[in-house]
């Protein structure tokens, strides 16, 4: 019986010839990522060693990545103190993949990992963040875990009791029409299968639309796979993966690529023709409340956000800059742009996108999670509505339970910035 992507990766990570969905395994971890919540991981890690008489030492400091992004620069003394504790721990343990609050190498964890070449095809990646699913874009099995689980990984170098997930195969065929983007594909899929449609499963992406998609688009799709409940999303690595790792991430060695076996067994197969897709909007307050744009166009909004690990990359900023060039953001709306990393910020500056966006009236803020999780910058007022390229619209997500968040692609966000209402980037139809 053939193996799916995740079965192949877990077979390798457990030193077995084969594993199948439902098996319980203890895979070795290739990369363990945390952000500010490393402060909690640290607390739990020290707990593990309490009373053992052993020195608390991480299993492999070169395989741990810690990135400050959720609340940067710190919004409170509490956060700042936690960040300080983590910095001290990083130094004491010799953790090398540490990205502090900096303009040269800082940014959102799910952008920092790929752009630095920390993730490779076939890796097992765990992160104390649900959107760790993103890294499936590079052909890794990457999934979110809690802080205590991570403490256990820091101690043992493996994840205990992983049940090999079943896989849903999604085949995206056809070519994207103008102004329809990978974000629209993933929103459509979540709307179709629901917020729990892939719970405990992996979504494996295939088809012409995925093969032609660049790594940035694949990151968007794998990132949001968790919004359908998926343990992870994964794209079989290919020539594009190699290109990205070489040209963008600066990885010198040639990476091995592989796909699932032709006779792999899937729980379900879903086919989507992207050539028929329209821009999609996820309406409040669940990510699976997805409607084609025609049903919500005209809705007034007060805040537009372009950013996050979902859509804060250079191509996302480029889409917005091109649409806003020489124009003005409507006075009734504030537009906030958060480049996903310092590197993306600098590239966007070099290309003139930042100037264009600011001249149009957008506010460009430092790289980081920003308003995506509503603890820091860009909270909403009572009764306000936001339109955002981020990934969650849960009640209260942008810092106020008495507000609403709609999710969309960067093209929809930019078109709507010009009008102050939800607007179809394809023009009047």
């Amino acid at each position: 019986m053939g193996m799916t992507m995740v079965e192949k990766i877990l077979a390798r990570a457990t030193g077995q010839a084969a594993v199948k969905a439902g098996d319980v395994v203890e895979p070795k971890v290739d990369l363990a990522m945390s952000h500010e919540n490393a402060a909690l991981v640290l607390n739990q890690f020290l707990e593990i060693y309490k009373g053992t008489g052993l020195e608390a030492k991480v299993w492999d400091p070169s395989k741990i990545a810690i990135i400050f992004d959720h609340r940067v620069p710190a919004e409170s003394s509490k956060t700042a103190t936690n960040q300080k504790k983590v910095r001290e721990f990083v130094a004491a343990q010799g953790i090398t993949k540490f990205h502090d609050i900096r303009g040269d190498e800082g940014g959102i964890c799910h952008q920092i990992l790929p752009e630095n070449g920390y993730v490779r095809p076939g890796y097992v990646v765990v992160g104390t963040d649900s959107h760790t699913t993103s890294h499936g874009a590079l052909g890794a099995f990457a999934f979110g875990i809690g802080a205590t689980e991570m403490a256990s990984v820091w101690a043992l170098g493996s994840v205990l009791n992983v049940e090999v997930p079943g896989t849903i195969k999604v085949v995206a065929k056809g070519k994207f029409p103008a102004y329809v983007l990978p974000k629209d594909l993933i929103l459509y899929l979540i709307g179709k299968i629901s917020a729990e449609g892939a719970n405990f499963k992996v979504i494996e992406y295939h088809g012409e639309a995925i093969e032609k998609m660049d790594t940035s688009g694949r990151l968007t799709i794998c990132n949001m796979s968790v919004e359908a409940g998926a343990t992870s999303g994964i794209v079989p690595p290919d020539a594009e993966t190699r290109r990205y790792l070489k040209e963008v991430a600066g990885v010198r060695e040639t990476v091995a690529v592989f796909g699932p076996d032709p006779d792999a067994v899937y729980d379900q197969e879903i086919e989507i023709d992207v050539s028929k897709l329209e821009p999609q909007i996820a309406c409040p307050h669940t990510v699976d409340n997805v409607k084609p744009i025609g049903e919500v166009a005209g809705k007034p909004i007060q805040q537009i956000v372009i950013g996050s690990c979902t859509n804060g990359r250079l191509d996302d900023i480029e889409v917005a800059a091109k649409m806003l060039k020489g124009k003005k953001v409507a006075r009734s709306v504030r537009m906030l742009v958060f480049p996903a990393s310092g590197r993306i910020f600098r590239e966007a500056m070099a290309k003139g996108y930042i100037t264009t966006l600011m001249e149009a009236g957008a506010l460009v803020a430092n790289s980081g999670c920003g308003p995506c999780l509503g603890v820091h910058q860009g909270a909403l007022g009572d009764g306000e509505t936001a339109l955002s390229t981020t990934n969650r619209n849960f009640k209260g997500r942008m810092g106020n339970p008495n507000s609403e968040v709609y999710l969309c692609s960067p093209a929809v966000a930019a078109a709507s910035a010009l009008t102050g209402v939800i607007t179809d980037p394809r023009g009047d139809r």
Binding site: T52, R71, G146, A155, E196
Partner: protein, 164 residues
């Protein structure tokens, strides 16, 4: 015997259980004060100590969807609540098992606030309604963590064995 103190619907996200704006607070000893912070009435009762240990929250499908934040589990573990849901989102369920928060998967559960429940090894009995509902057992591998008293003692054991 115990009572239902809160009845919720489907897709209760971690932003509802533990809003993101309190994420700077991480220690399990400090998180319970923000449990269901935007559910002001319930949160106030919890803080005043009006909710007895062992009380039950009943929810629908996909409880705990969203973020991996462990605060969402530790804030309910602190006051020793029990969550009975039709089913749970993956990371939340694993966090609960790791921390020893009691979670019960009960796909057919019917219960209202105030109902009296008895939870046995394989059933949730709703005494008020006079009905009982089957529990879906956790996989054996997960049960081992619960039996060890949570993931920290479980891993501690492993670390000690590794040094032998």
């Amino acid at each position: 015997m115990t009572n239902v103190v809160l009845k919720l619907g489907d897709d209760i996200s971690t932003d509802i259980i533990y809003p993101g704006r309190f994420m700077a607070t991480v220690l399990p000893t400090e998180t319970p004060q923000y449990a269901f912070a935007d559910h002001t009435e319930f949160n106030a009762r919890l803080k005043k100590g009006e909710i007895p240990a062992g009380s039950v929250i009943v929810a629908g499908k996909n409880f705990g969807c969203g973020s991996s934040r462990e605060q969402a589990a530790s804030c309910l573990k602190g006051p020793d609540l029990v969550v009975v849901a039709k089913h749970f989102a993956r990371i939340f369920l694993q966090n609960s098992i790791n921390l020893g928060l009691r979670t019960v998967i009960c796909p057919e559960i019917e219960a209202e606030e105030g109902d009296e429940l008895e939870i046995t090894a394989d059933k949730v009995i709703n005494k008020t309604k006079g009905k009982s509902f089957d529990i879906v057992p956790l996989p054996k591998a997960r049960q081992a963590i619960i039996d060890a008293g949570g993931l920290i003692p479980y891993t501690r054991q492993r670390v000690l064995e590794g040094k032998k």
